[in-house]
Amino acid sequence: MRIAVCMKQVPALSDGGMDEKTGTLIRSGQKAVPNIYDLSALEAALRSRESAEDENFAIDVYTMGPKSAEALIREAYAYGADHGYLICDSKFAGADVLATSYTLARAIRENGPYDLVFCGKQTTDGDTSQVSAALAKWLELPSFSGVTDVRIIQENGKDRIYLKQRLDDRVLTLKAGLPSLIAVEKETFPARMPSLKLRLRAGKKEITRIEAGSFRPESGGIKEKEYFGQKGSATRVIRIFPPERAEKHPVAELDGKEAGKQILDIWEGLGLRKERNHDFEERARDSGLS
């Protein structure tokens, strides 16, 4: 069994904001840390390994980033990952969702095959949780996002997965085949504490560096265009600007009645509604939808 986990570093806390005069970012000087959502993805993989009876269960970590992202891989080793791939090349920089997922897919295909690919839900520095679904499509895998439980099971001598997937109004309990891509929820996979023993070993472990030239040319059919980095991205930032600054709003001196009316106006203006208290089944019957 081989699992690939995609992880990313994020700034510890982006308190900086923007210097309006120069149009550049102000970094608060804190170090980069593993994205906490990706630690849950790694945790899910580690738990799968612990409950499996497979001797040769490998968990590989893939990260796209600058050379300093090696620290992420060493961190992953301290949690229990077996091997790490640092996808790092100036050609990969400036990648949007399309290019990022493409690059990850090339790296994973190059070093596969994998039975499962695990991803986190999103990042703390504001990314949009689209990479995992996009990655699944490049790899031509079914994708299951919002996963709160995943187990590897045996059925008729084959490995399959049993999983629970969260939608907005319900939880789906499913079985699916391998290979598949899983994006996990953070809440049900709180990361374990990194092990001191594994951390001490991590310093000596190898990390494989993947650069633009590392990829074997994709075989078969018409040569597909490559989607690396900024050149391979479909989107482009044309402007950055600071958000509305939070100024102290003047305190309104209102009597009870005026205050009540204002609160009601604000509530309605936000499009909020008191949820209709209908029974689930009754509603379903009414709409005919399920």
Binding site: T128, Q130, G177, A234, L272
Partner: protein, 331 residues
């Protein structure tokens, strides 16, 4: 570059057991704005029973300027790959400039797949969408929300954008007309088996709620908490508390907002009789809209409230409860 005079826009219509989701209506509204003079708006929905979809949507959407409804039947439950197939088919048929997807879980789960299928860009959680410089300008926060970014999709079509509920407004309905309907079918991935579906009951805790009403020391008697609870119910939210009332034993610790309690980030937080110590603020300062009611003009909560109101909660809440009831009965 995007068509100067009119844009073709495809909108993901999502339904749940109550019917069409609010966010899908909001996407239609935005599409109406973006479409321009000669633009065309299409809607596509996927569901287990295409007849039920038709019943739910045709009439409901008849007042909106939709060119055509594309309804795809996928037996069984949601699967990202299947929704992707449906939209691949629909995009191929309608060739839109823009694809708008509400940022619900389902929307987030399949949007990226469609983007890769068409080798195009997807900008998620947009807070603004407009046509500018012959392009669709997609605005969203970046770098943890301290910066806003305007983004364009240069060459590929469709430009895909996802938007969370409540960012844009649902449109006013116009004169109803019959919208042509196309029906199709999609299948899920092989080997996927649905074991069960479990509805999620409305969350009772305070974390993850859209709306919260929080009460504090300003509440003088334990019995008065009942009216605060009623208010929370009427606004569709949950009741929370500052530490003061938890210490008194009037509210459980699980409902406490603050440093030694819970950190919450609701869309709307109404605080009553809470002064807003640093410890409290740490638990709620990211709330999107904060209404604070307090008799003390110097209360620290007023420094971060979007709507600071100096008034006595005992003057405000009973009156508010009576007018809110009236409003709901009238709708």
């Amino acid at each position: 570059m995007i068509s100067k005079n009119g844009r073709g826009i495809l909108v993901f219509l999502e339904t749940d057991i109550y019917g069409i989701k609010e966010v899908s209506l909001e996407m239609i509204g935005k599409a109406m704005e973006l479409a321009g003079e000669t633009g065309k708006i299409y809607g596509a929905a996927v569901g287990d029973d295409v007849q039920a979809l038709e019943s739910a949507l045709s009439e409901r959407l008849s007042g909106y300027p939709l060119e055509k409804l594309f309804l795809y039947e996928k037996r069984g439950c949601f699967e990202a790959a299947a929704w992707e197939s449906a939209f691949t088919d629909c995009v191929t048929r309608t060739n839109p400039d823009i694809l708008l997807i509400g940022g619900t879980r389902k929307g987030r789960y399949f949007a990226g797949r469609v983007a890769v299928r068409f080798r195009t860009g997807v900008t998620a959680d947009c807070t603004g969408l407009r046509i500018g410089q012959d392009e669709l300008i997609q605005t969203r926060p970046a770098f943890g929300g301290n910066i806003m970014a305007d983004i364009v999709t240069d060459h590929s079509l469709p430009r895909i954008a996802t938007v969370r509920e409540g960012i844009f407004k649902a449109p006013e309905a116009g004169k109803p007309r019959k919208i042509p309907v196309f029906k199709g079918e999609v299948a899920g991935s092989e080997g996927v088996e649905l074991i069960s579906e479990t509805p999620i009951p409305r969350e009772r805790g305070i974390v993850g709620q859209q709306v919260l009403v929080a009460c504090g020391r300003g509440v003088r008697k334990k019995e008065d908490i009942a009216m605060m609870r009623k208010l929370a119910e009427e606004v569709g939210g949950e009741l929370a508390s500052s530490r003061a009332l938890v210490e008194k034993g009037w509210m459980p610790q699980s409902r406490q907002i603050g440093l030694s309690g819970n950190v919450v980030s609701p869309k709307l937080l109404i605080t009553c009789g809470i002064s807003g110590t640093i410890q409290f603020q740490t638990g709620m300062r990211t709330a999107k809209n904060i209404i604070a009611v307090n008799t003390d003009a110097e209360a620290p909560i007023f420094n971060i409230a979007h709507h600071p109101i100096r008034a006595d909660l005992y003057d405000v809440v009973p009156g508010l409860l009576s007018i809110i009831n009236r409003e709901i009965r009238n709708t």
